[in-house]
């Protein structure tokens, strides 16, 4: 039934899928954010409150790296991140998320672009997470006025953000993408073709 579509053309189901992924990870982010509000209250007297959102920052990037892994074509990471930002706005977040989403999206896209959109694996996802982390940190450096902060503190915050970016958007996204591909629902996508022949035995060994 498949009509010949251009390699880079967006189909309606692709757009809805990245949108729903955006919704899913926005929920995860909000959940972890509210959980960490308690932590923030505890950290405030020590002046360490920003670590509260730094430790969950990587969750922001997950939808984009997962979507890029699934569809494996240029532009996916950027579009996903911007769409996710618009969804956040619809959910009642402040308009600032749009610019943040754009900056992060460019970073995420760069990560796959340096591999000329040929690699969609743990390495490229980690590189993508790293770029997103660097660009988003530069952006928060301005919006949050971090120039007023001590260098040691800045370095610590950057290190934490880099760590969670790699953990969530790199490692966890990779696991999720592979897990999803193995279930067989991605038959219509490049990632599905790559992991379809994986034996069910592999899955059970990993789970054990």
């Amino acid at each position: 039934m498949k009509t010949k579509t251009k390699k880079y053309a967006w189909q309606l189901k692709d757009i809805i899928m990245i949108g729903i992924l955006g919704v899913l990870f926005a929920l995860i982010y909000l959940g972890s954010f509210y959980l960490s509000m308690g932590l923030q209250a505890a950290l405030t007297p020590f002046g360490l409150a920003p670590f509260n959102f730094e430790i969950v920052y990587g969750v922001w990037f997950m939808a984009a790296t997962v979507a890029a892994f699934i569809m494996q074509k240029p532009g996916v990471a950027l579009v996903t991140e911007v769409l996710a930002a618009f969804l956040e706005l619809l959910m009642g977040n402040f308009p600032l998320v749009i610019t943040t989403g754009l900056v992060q999206g460019v970073g995420l896209e760069l990560g796959f672009a340096v591999f000329r959109y040929k690699r969609y694996d743990l390495l490229s996802m980690c590189v993508s997470a790293t770029f997103a982390c660097i660009l988003s940190f530069i952006w928060t450096y301005f919006t949050n006025g971090y120039a007023a902060l001590e260098t040691g503190m800045l370095a610590a915050m950057f290190a934490v953000r880099l760590g969670t970016s790699l953990l969530f958007a790199g490692l966890l996204s990779n696991l999720l993408g592979k897990g999803l591909a193995r279930t067989g629902v991605l038959k219509g996508y490049p990632a599905g073709a790559k992991y379809a022949r994986q034996d069910i035995m592999d899955d059970e060994e990993e789970a054990a």
């Binding site: 600032l96 949050n144 007023a148």
Partner: protein, 233 residues
């Protein structure tokens, strides 16, 4: 505020925010926050909702104040950190960071409290010419939100019933949800297309959103006011 075209309101809020990010001015920050509240006072908004939004903002502002006061550029962490808190520079630095949060929140409140989000989406299609595929795809995904929340609870309950207690971000929990995401997207796209959704066909508009001169003027007004503020405060 409520009657301004949503897309142009968004632009009129985003441009000043981006400019403001590059300046440090405590007075201006506080003036922006105050002015936003004054405008809101004349906009007939639901204050209970606004207060709910302000709680995390207030927590964040206090948090940033403490961070700015304790770890200001040039301070030594540890030695003398207690004294640094009392110094003038530390106080100012904390205020600098805390007031920024308030200024951004003021802009944010101004937008979200006076904008109907469906109107925003419609206006993105009509005024900003976003492709219909993206506009309606976005709406379809947005409407999945309650289903996704329910699905999350169901999946968690299913694991609990088996005596498995996965952490909130565990792949065990997320992979079934992502399977749902793919399935739903296919079903929704099929449903829309089977009922005649076509990107290329001409569309009629059910809720036309009109543009008036005031709408075009809004971004220039906000940006102009901000530049004046930067010059004189």
């Amino acid at each position: 505020m409520k009657s301004i075209n949503p897309s142009w309101k968004l632009i009129g809020i985003l441009v000043p925010i981006v400019i403001l990010a590059f300046f440090y001015n405590i007075t201006l920050n506080l003036v922006i926050f105050g002015a936003s509240l004054v405008v809101l006072a004349f906009s007939r908004i639901k204050w209970s909702t606004a207060l709910k939004v302000m709680i995390p903002v207030a927590v964040l502002a206090v948090g940033m104040y403490m961070t700015g006061a304790k770890f200001h550029a040039g301070a030594n962490i540890g030695v003398g950190a207690g004294n640094a808190l009392l110094s003038n520079a530390a106080f100012e630095n904390g205020l600098q960071l805390g007031s920024r949060v308030l200024a951004f929140a003021g802009f944010g409140l101004l937008f979200i409290m006076t904008t109907d989000m469906m109107e925003l989406v419609r206006s993105m299609e009509q005024q900003l010419r976003f492709p219909a595929k993206f506009v309606y795809g976005l709406l379809a995904a947005f409407q999945i939100l309650p289903n996704m929340q329910q699905e999350y609870r169901k999946t968690k309950a299913a694991f609990w019933a088996r005596g498995v207690y996965p952490v909130p971000v565990s792949p065990k929990l997320l992979v079934p949800l992502m399977v749902k995401a793919v399935r739903w997207s296919e079903a929704l796209a099929a449903a829309m297309e089977s009922k005649g959704f076509d990107e290329k066909a001409g569309r009629t508009i059910y809720h036309p959103i009109v543009m008036r001169p005031a709408d075009y003027a809004f971004p220039f007004l906000t940006t102009g006011l901000l530049v004046l503020g930067l010059l004189f405060l």
